[in-house]
């Protein structure tokens, strides 16, 4: 992990519970993410990873428990103004009615942080950083899944976030593109020093980029540790998740 940078923020989740229509989805999540860390939350589909991410960025309100961003509750007045946070959604969640350039520059334009000419420069710079230079005038509908993800990353970078949340950044991508996106995440941490929380069920990505990994199972955290610790842990559920392989003789 790099030296603790000033442009990042810590995250703490305490006793987080959430139910939807009486169905518990998160059952008392506790975790601490340090400044500048790449923290990967792994687990099977439906284990509550995305719901956890939505709580961290303030899109959902907990039934019980709290989320602290830099020591302040995420829903407290002005936290979103004091701490720059960004989320890269699983689908990219680009605004389909805007061009790539308008999507990437949206934060700066809406908050009137820079004049239009400077926004164009920043947009070009961020698109170049994710290898998509010159695509400003395209619409999201004209891009492949991988390109949309990278545009979403560029849009997140414009915010110069202290905390970036990635929701399944390699889903729907071919293995080569998945590696590229994984490398981007690490590269961006090196250049921006932001704290990164990555939610994924892609084991290769998780073990490849994480400083620490949390394994979620049915709304609970089974284990938190470095990739080495996770591999050594003897919990059968955890071992099943990290060693499962496709095979016709597999009796699961």
């Amino acid at each position: 992990m790099p030296e603790k940078p000033s442009s990042s923020v810590s995250v703490e989740v305490r006793g987080l519970h959430k139910s939807f229509r009486g169905q518990p989805v998160l059952k008392g999540i506790n975790l601490q993410v340090d400044q500048g860390e790449i923290f990967v939350v792994m687990g099977p589909s439906g284990s509550g990873k995305t719901v956890l991410l939505k709580h961290i960025i303030g899109l959902e309100k907990p039934d019980e428990g709290e989320i602290l961003i830099g020591g302040e509750p995420v829903h407290a007045e002005g936290v979103m103004d004091r701490h720059r946070m960004a989320m890269v959604f699983q689908s990219g969640a680009l605004l389909n009615s805007l061009t790539v350039g308008e999507n990437v520059g949206l934060y700066l334009a809406e908050h009137r942080l820079k004049p239009d000419s400077e926004i164009a420069t920043v947009v070009a710079e961020k698109l170049a950083l994710v290898g998509l230079e010159g695509l400003e005038d395209r619409y999201p509908g004209e891009l492949s899944g991988g390109m949309k993800k990278r545009v979403a990353i560029a849009r997140a970078l414009v915010i110069e976030p202290e905390l970036i949340l990635y929701d399944e950044p390699t889903s729907e991508l071919d293995p080569l593109m998945a590696i590229t996106v994984g490398e981007e995440i690490v590269k961006l941490r090196e250049t921006t020093h932001a704290t990164s929380i990555v939610v994924t069920h892609d084991r290769d990505l998780g073990f490849g980029i994480a400083d620490r990994i949390a394994l979620m199972w049915e709304g609970e955290i089974l284990f938190i540790g470095t990739p080495g610790d996770v591999r050594k842990n003897s919990n059968p559920l955890l071992q099943e998740f990290i060693t499962a392989e496709f095979g016709l003789t597999n009796k699961r």
Binding site: K54, I57, G58, L59, M80, D81, M85, A86, M87, F89, S91, A93, L94, L95, N96, S97, L106, Y107, E110, H111, R112, R155, I159
Partner: protein, 247 residues
């Protein structure tokens, strides 16, 4: 139902509070104005022409039969500007523009675009609702002015060319001028402004409440149109009662 009404009032209040940000959103307001005008003007004029015509057709022969041919202009003129133009144009706009608003915002909701806005600390009410409600509130009264004029013309054509009525253009418009005042036109415009606010708020609210994928979007669109029309017709009665005090 009461929860929906409560949410609707809250959204309306938030939109009022967002009014100071109008200048910042002016480009989106103009875009929406263009959309509304472009999508509805021709249809509004065709509709108004035939509404005026049918009012003249239904009432003209009866009036002529009773020796009241000169009253056709006033009757058509008054019913068009105080009632038919604002109500029918509002229903048209609820169908054409309200449905489009609910579908667009609903799709943004379903595909997490609104969540993306929130993560960028962009208020969806400022970014999506305010420009739409403002644009429709400006555009509908203008469309109603067009509809009133075209509706009067439609009534005039039928009054002149229908052999059972067969009065002159001059007689039709003389009577219309003597009966219909500017305050009557203003009355229709006030109604259309209120209906526009209702259509904009209801449609945006339904869009923001969308759950699920394409089926959820379809449900929101249907609800937006039906709820808007129901509210327009109910409000029309109470607004008419209210505005009668100023006649």
């Amino acid at each position: 139902m009461f929860q929906s009404i409560g949410e609707l009032i809250v959204l309306f209040w938030k939109t009022i509070l967002a009014l100071p940000f109008t200048w910042r959103q002016r480009r989106k307001v103009f875009d929406q104005l263009f959309e509304i005008g472009n999508a509805s003007l021709l249809m509004a004029c065709i509709l108004a022409m035939f509404i005026g015509g049918v009012v003249a057709l239904q009432t003209g022969p009866v009036l002529v039969e009773r020796g009241l041919a000169s009253a056709v202009g006033g009757l058509v003129g008054l019913s068009i500007c105080k009632e038919l133009a604002p109500v029918m144009m509002s229903i048209l706009i609820a169908g054409r523009i309200g449905s489009a608003m609910a579908a667009e915002i609903g799709s943004m909701r379903a595909y997490q675009e609104i969540d993306a806005l929130k993560t960028m600390n962009i208020n969806p009410v400022h970014y999506l609702v305010l420009p739409r409600v403002l644009a429709i509130s400006l555009a509908l009264p203008v469309l109603v002015i067009f509809a009133i004029v075209v509706g009067w013309l439609g009534g005039g054509f039928v009054s002149v060319f229908n052999h059972e009525i067969a009065i002159t253009f001059q007689a039709y418009f003389n009577n219309l001028r003597s009966v219909v005042g500017l305050d009557d036109v203003f009355n229709g415009l006030i109604k259309s402004f209120v209906f526009a606010v209702v259509i904009g708020t209801v449609s945006c609210h339904q869009g923001l409440q969308t759950i699920g994928g394409p089926r959820g979007i379809g449900r929101s669109v249907t609800k937006a149109v039906v709820n808007s029309i129901v509210m327009i017709l109910i409000l029309d009665y109470f607004l008419t009662r209210f505005l009668l005090y100023f006649d």
